[in-house]
């Protein structure tokens, strides 16, 4: 099928799809006039039942924890897939690419420290204020990427050796699944909250939400670092080979 025929077919079917899509969307409740019972129920009961003030966080790690388990493993599987596709015999030769400006290096390293603290804060208070393991994990991985940007590929590789990072990723994903079994053993249902709910609005609240939150943070940070590392490795090392 050539390009013109394909685009012609697309135009016809897209027009049909657009018509159906707009037709179905105008059947939704008017924007801003929300009335779904599940969300309303969670907003009404979550704070009293779990003592967590971030209802999105407690939805992810408690009420819908089983869905999050699936998501954790989508993340894990996709990252393993990227590793398998991009991995080759690792070339120890590293291009000399350090940032030479002292000013950039200094500012970069100060930013790394600030981003690390920000990431830890976003994770730690994930079930109290906006944030959580997923969001904080990405911020933490960003701190490691900044080491590459403001330092060098060598610094990034030295700071995030492959084997420990991959072990951390697997442990994060595994811990989530194991915490589910702890809930099963002590409370009779997989992923049910098994710790005391603590005091509302403090770090000591939400019971096992805190543990699941940290397990997720470790997995997401490690997964993102693995992705950065694999893509940087493809980009950095064989550049010279590709150009010849």
């Amino acid at each position: 099928m050539n390009r013109t025929v394909r685009l012609g077919l697309f135009a016809i079917s897209a027009a049909g799809l657009a018509a159906l899509l707009f037709w179905s969307l105008i059947g939704l409740p008017d924007f801003g006039h929300y009335h779904w019972p599940y969300g309303k129920l969670l907003n009404a009961v979550a704070v009293n039942e779990r003592h967590t003030t971030n209802v999105v966080g407690v939805t992810v790690f408690d009420y819908r924890g089983f869905d999050t388990l699936g998501e954790e493993f989508i993340l894990f599987t996709a990252v393993v897939g990227v590793s398998l596709l991009l991995r080759k015999d690792r070339d120890e030769r590293v291009l000399r690419d350090p940032v030479r400006s002292d000013g950039v290096r200094l500012l970069g390293m100060l930013t790394v420290a600030a981003v690390l603290v920000l990431g830890l804060w976003v994770v730690a208070f994930g079930y109290v204020t906006p944030g959580g393991g997923f969001q904080g994990g990405v911020v933490l991985a960003g701190a490691f990427l900044l080491v590459y940007l403001a330092g060098s590929y060598g610094d990034f590789e030295a700071l995030t050796p492959h084997t420990p990072v991959e072990i951390a990723e697997a442990l994060g994903a595994g811990a989530f699944a194991v915490l589910g079994f702890v809930g099963l053993a002590y409370e009779g249902a997989y992923l049910r909250n098994f710790l005391g709910i603590g005091d509302t609005g403090t770090l000591y609240s939400g019971g096992s939400v805190a543990l699941l939150n940290w397990a997720t943070a470790i997995e997401v940070t490690a997964a993102m670092v693995v992705l950065f590392s694999e893509f940087l490795n493809v980009y950095m090392v064989p550049v010279a080979d590709w150009r010849t």
Partner: protein, 114 residues
């Protein structure tokens, strides 16, 4: 009566789909797929939105104060994570295709040209 956010979602989906169909570069194709997926974020957040409501975070706000839906926000979070990892996987495949066939144009990949 406001349906603008829903229309934006539908438009993003169709524009992304056009990009996927007409793409001449696998990297461009992966990004068009993210645009399509952005339609789902807009749609999910739009159906959970409530006029004069706050975020579903009750720190300093009494329980019972109108808040937007936490379930669709949690779904959007899931959606974004899946999107990022899928794009990473597609980009890895694109690198592999380039290594094998020295092209990233979907029309020129042997055995795949329609």
């Amino acid at each position: 009566m406001t349906y603008l956010p829903y229309a934006v979602a539908a438009w993003l989906f169709l524009v992304g789909l056009y990009g996927v169909v007409s793409s001449r570069n696998l990297i461009h194709l992966a990004l068009c797929l993210s645009v399509m997926q952005s339609a789902t974020y807009v749609l999910l957040l739009a159906v959970g939105y409530k006029n004069k409501a706050t975020a579903p975070i009750f720190r300093g706000i009494p329980v019972g104060h109108p808040a937007v839906d936490p379930v669709v926000q949690a779904l959007t979070l899931t959606d974004i994570v899946v999107s990022v990892t899928v794009v990473a996987l597609i980009l890895a495949l694109a690198l592999d295709v380039h290594k094998q066939g020295h092209t990233v144009d979907p029309d020129h990949i042997a055995g795949m040209s329609g």
